[in-house]
């Protein structure tokens, strides 16, 4: 009997995010019937698209025990440059391409500094965070850029009745899931994240893996930025601020470890993203004080991280004692 109770408790703490997600849905559903509408479910997905894409990229980096603080700046810089281009009459696809290239370049820069010069990811990406945002502000002259109609249609467009951002989100998540579970590269990411030294011994080129994950993260940041501005219709100087933290939080909520090697994009990170977005949306639906949003979101993250840390302590001890 005791054994069953114990494992039940374990299940709860192992799936704290999923549970919170269910609780959140039930709670908001009771408080506001409109919350449970089909339309609102789509709303949540649309609003989650940008963060979801961002967090997917972040998951790759976190899996190697790295961190990328520069994603918000990449979003911003990509938004500013593409916005300027479109305003100046460049075609949309050309701007989109430039956005992607910026994301890739920033990812390369991060990765090169990390593995060539052996500076820790935190400092490297903190620096590129400031350089990127500074550059963006320099180019935009700190002005907001209002985008033409064509951008907005990208954000609100639908294919077969499904909003474009949602399609993009699911495409990115499916691809990421495939890469992580079905390719050598994906398996090597987990290996490097667990122990780079062991990975090297197993004949894995750690540098190539690092390059790969930061490039993917940069790419996702740019893409996420594109999705976000296509919904906003404008790039303000505060665009993307703190996005990196939300992306990290979403991934951590989804069970990704800051210390590498543990976690997945699907269902992990996706659930984390949906939890955050559901809370945000639900608070709106029940007409909560908007100033409470960050408080509640932060409290939820704190809770999940706390539970995970206790879990982790237990795992470590079990590992040391050779138990399962």
């Amino acid at each position: 009997m005791k054994q069953i109770q114990h494992s039940g408790l374990q299940w709860v703490s192992n799936n704290s995010t999923l549970l919170l997600f269910a609780v959140a849905i039930a709670l908001f559903g009771i408080l506001s019937p409109a919350f449970l509408s089909f339309q609102n479910a789509f709303n949540i997905l649309v609003q989650a698209a940008a963060l979801g894409i961002l967090a997917t990229g972040m998951t790759f980096v976190l899996l190697t025990a790295g961190i990328d603080l520069s994603v918000g700046s990449i979003m911003f810089l990509a938004g500013v440059i593409s916005g300027k281009m479109v305003v100046d009459g460049a075609p949309l696809w050309w701007a989109g391409l430039v956005v992607v290239v910026i994301g890739l370049e920033f990812g390369c820069l991060n990765a090169l500094l990390i593995y060539r010069l052996k500076v820790i990811p935190f400092i490297v990406t903190l620096a590129t965070f400031y350089v990127g945002r500074g550059l963006g502000l320099f180019i935009s002259d700190t002005r907001a850029i209002n985008l033409p109609e064509s951008f907005l249609t990208l954000g609100s467009g639908k294919v077969l009745g499904i909003p474009l951002p949602v399609i993009l989100l699911f495409f990115v998540i499916t691809l990421a899931h495939l890469v992580l579970t079905r390719t050598t590269f994906g398996k090597h990411i987990y290996a490097v994240g667990h122990d780079p030294e062991k990975a090297r011994k197993a004949g894995i080129s750690v540098n190539r893996i690092l390059l790969g994950v930061y490039v993917i993260c940069g790419f996702c940041a740019a893409l996420g930025g594109l999705v976000a501005i296509a919904q906003l219709g404008a790039v303000s100087p505060t665009f993307g601020l703190q996005s990196e933290f939300m992306a990290i939080a979403a991934a951590i909520l989804g069970g990704v470890s800051l210390f590498g090697g543990r976690g997945n994009v699907f269902p992990g990170t996706l659930i984390g993203v949906l939890l955050i977005q559901t809370i945000q949306n639900g608070l709106v639906m029940v007409n909560a004080d908007p100033y409470l949003y960050p408080l509640i979101t932060a409290a939820v993250i704190f809770l999940v991280v706390g539970i995970d840390s206790l879990q982790n302590q237990r795992r470590e001890k079990a590992k040391r004692l050779g138990l399962k």
Binding site: I67, L113, L117, K118, V119, I120, F122, I123, V124, L126, A127, T128, F129, Y130, V131, R133, G134, L135, G136, L137, F138, T142, F245, I248, A249, I252, L258, F259, D289, Y291, L292, Y293, P294, L295, T297, A298, A299, I301, F302, V305, G306, S309, L310, N312, Q313
Partner: protein
């Protein structure tokens, strides 16, 4: 170099010195009394907050919540001292309790950080990230995004009040710096900080009270952030929920340039002093050269990166040679 700096901080001392000389020549209005006072007042809060951060980094932690602590302390101080809310009628009581309230807020948030890091073994990055979100949200919620004004005259005039020919904030900063230096270099707490940062397991087995030490450093960081908030609030004559939201880079940058390792166990107060000085010099001089803040932002980012690269290069050459 004399004992003012050990080998680790020689670099940053030279950097400050050289930079100061160059700017004296080329930056208009740099080498003036007015600007020197300016420099000093810009330096003090950053220095104080960076010193708190140094303590945390020495234990291989990080405190991202300093910006939120500055904001909450500023707001609470504003509430307690503003003549719009009239809590106390005596100016001295207002001032005393207001400042005490700010310090208590800092210490409390620090204690929450430390408690979560020490007792739940939560990663410091996540703990302070969430407390940052939580408390900056809290500050905005508390004030509904409003600023608090009409602070007591004696409080807002702090920067222009001289005692024995020295402005009051300098005394405050001096107190914090000396306290920090004393705690770190003369007491068992300081030795324990280095030990916890160098190797938590070894420290624990050697009888070091790891949780007390960890809670201690986060509390100290919170305290320093609150002192920084006092200076910021007085200077801007406003209790603001967004106070200090842009200083995180400057703080971490100052500490890292000052030679403190993010992996713990290595770093000094002297180093952080010069690190903070360099960040302030950079800001002030580039400003005087009429560069906009975003260019300064980029330069700062690159300078931090440069310092980190140099640090690893030096460390590697020490290892191989």
């Amino acid at each position: 170099m004399v004992k003012i700096a050990n080998s680790e901080s020689t670099f940053v001392v030279l950097l400050c010195l050289g930079y100061y000389l160059v700017m004296t020549i080329i930056a208009p209005g740099f080498f003036t009394v007015n600007n020197s006072i300016n420099l000093l007042f810009n330096l003090l809060p950053l220095l104080i907050i960076s010193i708190g951060q140094t303590y945390v980094l020495l234990t291989a932690g990080i405190d991202l919540s300093v910006t939120a602590i500055v904001a909450v302390a500023s707001v609470v101080g504003g509430f307690m001292m503003s003549s719009d809310t009239v809590w106390f009628h005596n100016e001295f009581t207002t001032l005393f309790l207001g400042i005490l309230g700010m310090l208590v807020v800092g210490v409390l948030i620090g204690a929450i950080n430390g408690w979560a890091v020490a007792k739940f073994a939560m990663p410091a990055f996540m703990v302070t990230l969430t407390t940052m979100m939580l408390f900056s949200g809290f500050a905005i919620w508390l004030t509904q995004s409003q600023n608090l004004y009409n602070l007591p005259e004696s409080f807002v005039e702090m920067h222009y009040t001289y005692f024995l020919g020295i402005p009051v904030p300098l005394y405050i900063a001096l107190f914090v710096v000396l306290l920090a230096y004393f705690l770190l270099n003369r007491t068992i707490f300081g030795e324990w900080i280095y030990a916890v940062g160098a190797n938590k397991k070894t420290a624990r087995i050697s009888g070091v009270s790891v949780s007390k030490t960890l809670i201690g450093v986060y509390v100290f960081s919170g305290f320093c952030a609150a002192v920084g908030a006092i200076l910021y609030t007085a200077r801007l004559e406003t209790g603001s929920p967004v106070m200090g939201q842009n200083i995180l880079l400057d703080v971490i940058g100052a500490v890292v340039i000052g030679g403190t390792s993010l992996f713990g166990g290595k770093g000094t107060i002297q180093g952080t002093f010069f690190g903070a000085l360099f960040m302030t010099l950079l800001d002030n001089s580039l400003n005087l050269l009429n560069l906009s803040f975003f260019i300064i932002m980029m330069v700062k980012g690159m300078v931090i990166l440069g310092a980190a690269i140099l640090n690893t290069v030096v460390e590697r050459s020490l290892k191989t040679g």
